[in-house]
Amino acid sequence: MLQIKTVLPIPLFHSSDASSSYTKQRHHPDVQSDIDMDMDEPSYNYAELDPEESGALERQITTPGEVVTSAKEFMRGHGTLLDASGENVVATVAGTVERVNKLVSVKSVKSSDLVYYKVKERRSTSEFPGGMNEGSLTRERKREMERRKVESDALKMREFLAEGDLLVAEVQSTEGMIQLHTRSLKYGKLRNGQLTIVPASLIRRLKSHFYTLPPPCGPQGVDVILGVNGYIWVCLGSGSGGDKERTQGSGGTTDGFDNELVYSDKNDIIPPPSRQAISRVCALIQTFARYSIPLTETLLMSAYEWCRHNGLEETGVVLSRALEKQLLEEIVGIVDTDE
């Protein structure tokens, strides 16, 4: 049985829907406070929504079984259901109500809208069987391996990708089977680092999912690859001229695509300060994930900077409860109330 695990940096869906749902939710900082204030007043009269008043449904919170609106005026979208009488649209997940013209859908906090959820779920289920350590290959994956075996040298396939390898790839299609491509030097096997897993909903779709946190963060910097499935790879920074270095580094280059490098699974020697930086970044990611704060490059950078500033370099990477609170308050701007 083959088993391969992947961190995916590129969003699978490039549909306009997926990206617009984010832009729709973004607000100017000045307006933000007004919106947050509005949210504080719970409004329960969902049935009395005026269909003409566009955007009124936005940001309302529902839980399963709650009547969202009347089925006569609205069409039901994802995350909703007609109730027994067939008169009302009822939510099936906890999340925010969204509305496009007359289509009402509920967007779960754990996932984006349902179509996307399925795809994402498919991705995480079929490509990451089991967990980090064990699992088996799914049919989709097997087919994909076979296809690749035909294309490339069948006998050498095992040498390139073995069971249990962790790799970063682009998903190019999911029709029937999943096709992964490691089309440039960016992609390939992962090494020199640590894997950390967060809920996939915390990964925003961005132009690039490859980040480099520059040198104050460890002597060589730290690279962060945010997989859209919530798998995050934190590894030793390749430095500014990293790519050049990498191509020159070893022999056997064919057509600018260095097989040995892409499929190498030997770790470089990582100095202790870099190791500490990597594990600190992982710890920070986990901290943010615990408070469901979406990850971004700047957030991580400022959080790391905050740790340095507060002289936490020498202490352990896992923050105490009090420090965690302080971090959240100063960097993210939330005062922890619950938990």
Binding site: Q25, R26, H27, P29, Q32, I35, D36, M39, P42, R59, I61, T63, P64, G65, E66, G79, L81, D83, A84, V90, T92, V93, A94, G95, T96, S108, V109, K110, S111, L114, Y117, K118, E121, S124, T125, S126, P129, G130, S136, T138, I197, P199, Q286, F288, A289, R290, Y291, S292, I293, P294, L295, T296, T298, L299, S302, I331, V332, G333, I334, D338
Partner: protein, 229 residues
Amino acid sequence: MTFAPHANADGSATMQQGLTTVSATVFGSREPRAQSRGMLLHDRAFLSVEVGEAAWAQQGGSKRSRGDKRLTEIAAAIRDTFEPVVMLQLYPRTEISVYVQVLGSDGGILSTAINATTLALIDAGVAMADYITSLSIGLHLTQPLLDLSGPEESDIPHLVVACLPATGKITLATLETRIHVDRFEEMLDVGVEGCRVLHMEMQAEVRQRTTTIVERMQMGQGSTAAVAA
């Protein structure tokens, strides 16, 4: 009620009713594990439920293992309760696993476990038609009593009811003793009423939690904008 005590799970919740504490963890919908691959359904997901009991939660010091008949029975009851309500057809060819751990037992394990599972499923973002809330109802002479404790449960006839609060539909009613039909009806009515109250409480909790998460999602964005500027 506490949400997400287990960070690694897709959804989890702990529910405390009196001295009974039950923690439920939901994984899924996910690819079926190797040992349960045989149960895979092509048109919908299947639910798998496992119930365990912490050693310190057991009463009378009797040792129970995972294969305990009573615990398997509870697991089966939970599965049957949730199967019609969770929208399994939305997740074909997957498994939704629920792990229930009894952390403290003082009667009403089944109903507390059902409530905890409801919360965990909601936390995991699994689509459900409605909440399922559950309560145990006892009968003392002619007086129905709600949410029994351990000693009460062992002495008087009791009924466990799980219902969909919005419609009042009952998905589970188990009774282990004989009682008069008239009393039964009375108990059922009181039980459904109790479930409604419980639903209000759970809904308020879920709503608060969801609001916090949505706020946090927004705040993360806001602050990054501020840092970048």
